[in-house]
């Protein structure tokens, strides 16, 4: 990335688009702490997140999915979601051994997990190991895990690429719900139709720089952008 300066607002869906190698996923990796930038800072509100490790950024309310979908494969779908809830007392070793404060919280988390699975349409697959799910279903699991964290910011790396039409519609509907709930959603996508359907704003990147940004309908038609995509 080179001189990328962006501002995002809550309740907005921003799509990051551009040709392969434009720096879109790198941007997500920098914002989520998996890549340390050589220079520059980024803030969520008044809190600087630049030098924090990924787990602290996630705890600050900034979550993400990955381009190559990542879930805990040999663990059930339900357990994947249960992992995502914050502030679990049973994650302290002493509480785990002594069983302090776990039962009630687990019960509540199980209920919330089931609700989320219903939301993404995977309630029937709850007790299956995540590895037996289709690629698209695994994407839904990873998105559901983000939602389970009740974040302020959700960053999705190619959420609809490689999924069938039904799952695509489900995912786009989820993104619209997130916007309605006042969450900031940033998603990287090659599917321009999906961008036009849900995004309030599009940022076009090429060769590590921001080319332009604005309403998807306007900027995706501009000659500059068409040139960048088609070469």
């Amino acid at each position: 990335m080179d001189g990328v300066a962006l501002t995002f607002d809550p309740g907005e869906i921003t799509a990051i688009v551009g040709p392969n190698g434009a720096g879109k996923s790198t941007l997500i990796n920098v914002l989520s702490g998996y890549v340390r930038p050589d220079r520059g800072q980024w803030y969520w509100g008044a809190t600087e997140l630049t030098k924090l490790p990924p787990f602290k950024i996630a705890r600050a309310g900034v979550t993400r999915t990955f381009q190559q979908v990542r879930v805990a494969n040999q663990v059930t779908v339900l357990d994947n979601l249960l992992l995502a809830f914050r502030g679990q007392k049973g994650e302290r070793l002493s509480n785990a051994i002594l069983g302090i404060g776990i039962r009630e919280q687990e019960k509540q988390n199980h209920e919330r997990a089931r609700e989320l699975l219903e939301l993404v349409g995977l309630e029937q697959q709850a007790l299956l190991p995540a590895e037996v799910l289709s690629f698209g279903q695994q994407k839904l699991v990873s998105i559901a895990c983000c939602l389970a964290m009740d974040p302020d910011v959700i960053m999705l790396d190619e959420p609809v690429s490689g999924v069938d039409y039904t799952l695509r519609s489900r995912i786009l509907a989820l993104l619209a719900q997130l916007r309605d709930r006042g969450k900031l959603t940033i998603f990287v996508e090659h599917d321009i139709t999906a961008v036009r359907e849900v995004a309030n704003r599009a940022v076009v990147m090429n060769a590590g720089k921001v080319l332009c940004q604005g309403q998807p309908g306007d900027i995706l038609r501009s000659p500059e952008v068409v040139e960048a995509f088609l070469g």
């Binding site: 787990f55 249960l82 992992l83 049973g90 069983g99």
Partner: protein, 306 residues
């Protein structure tokens, strides 16, 4: 029933020897389940479990011989000591993954073996520590093999209950997430590096319990009891019994403790028995990797997501 079987096989049935086997299986079951916390639950393959076993044995023995400390105090001190020692390997290497972590633990095992042999003022080097007194627990002097078998089985049961509670808790869930995909676990806000340090310490603490029991049972320990070969044996128990399940390490311990006894019945020549036994272990491991890569009761396969 046991004497009928033994008459048929033409061997003398000896209750003391049966208790001896029960003690060994119990000690190795504790060692194997302690290692399974790393290997099966967290996906950290380690070859230094004998180093923590040694820490427990030597700390327990030194406190027993030098200070006549009560047994429970010895065990707690050994657990704490082993957990602290584990920081020497976990903190420098915890960001390493896969093969590199394995190599770091291998190096740690070699360093500990060397220390045991050369730190003569503390460990008496190759001469070892002798005269380790019997356990006295709640006023009962545990000298006979039968009484020690009861103690060893009780210690195993307590260890297993604690491990079971950890494994089925949210803490255990995070361990398995680290095993499956550490980057994914981090994206969910889990401090995976911190967790791994804690798991290594917990694993070391349980191995130290096995060490304390062994020291008191044998009443003599030396560095040859805690070498790389011993770490390999414990790892084999986890792999053969099955990683990621509580029953697996227990079965693995039983199989590998009883295997030499079965081979003894075959009547191998004494000058080649040890070598043939090693051949058998190796063959069993390789065969299992082909036929049952998850071991007898394993819940976890060792193929990793990259």
């Amino acid at each position: 029933m046991a004497s009928l079987v033994s008459r048929y096989l033409g061997i003398r049935f000896d209750m003391d020897y049966a208790f001896h086997l029960i003690v060994l299986i119990s000690i190795y079951a504790i060692l194997a389940v302690s290692l399974d916390l790393l290997v099966g639950q967290t996906g950290l393959v380690s070859i230094s479990q004998a180093a923590f076993y040694a820490a427990g044995a030597y700390i327990g023995a030194i406190l027993a011989v030098g200070l006549r400390a009560p047994f429970l105090i010895e065990v707690l001190a050994a657990m704490l000591g082993a957990a602290l020692i584990s920081l020497l390997v976990s903190i420098p290497s915890i960001h390493l993954r896969g093969d590199y972590f394995f190599i770091a633990t291998f190096a740690f095992q070699l360093v500990v073996t060397s220390l045991l042999n050369n730190w003569v003022t503390v460990t008496r080097g190759p001469l070892g520590l002798a005269g380790i007194s019997p356990v006295i627990l709640f006023g009962v002097r545990i000298e006979s093999s039968g009484k020690f078998a009861i103690l060893a089985v009780a210690a195993t049961a307590i260890s297993y209950v604690i491990v079971w509670r950890v494994v089925r808790s949210p803490f255990g869930r995070v361990m398995r997430a680290i095993r499956e995909d550490e980057l994914f676990a981090q994206s969910l806000g889990k401090n995976t590096q911190g967790m791994k340090v804690i798991v290594v310490a917990l694993s070391a603490a349980f191995a130290a319990v096995g060490g304390c029991l062994y020291a008191h049972y044998m009443t003599y320990i030396d560095p040859t009891n805690f070498t790389f070969t011993e770490s390999l044996l414990i790892l084999s128990m986890v792999v053969i019994g099955g990683a990621g399940s509580l029953i697996g390490p227990f079965v693995g311990a039983g199989v590998l403790v009883l295997l030499p006894e079965v081979l003894r019945l075959i009547g191998l020549p004494s000058n080649t028995a040890a070598n043939i036994r090693q051949l058998f272990y190796g063959g069993l491991l390789v065969t299992l990797m082909f036929l049952r890569p998850r071991g007898f009761f394993g819940k976890y396969g060792f193929g990793r997501k990259t």
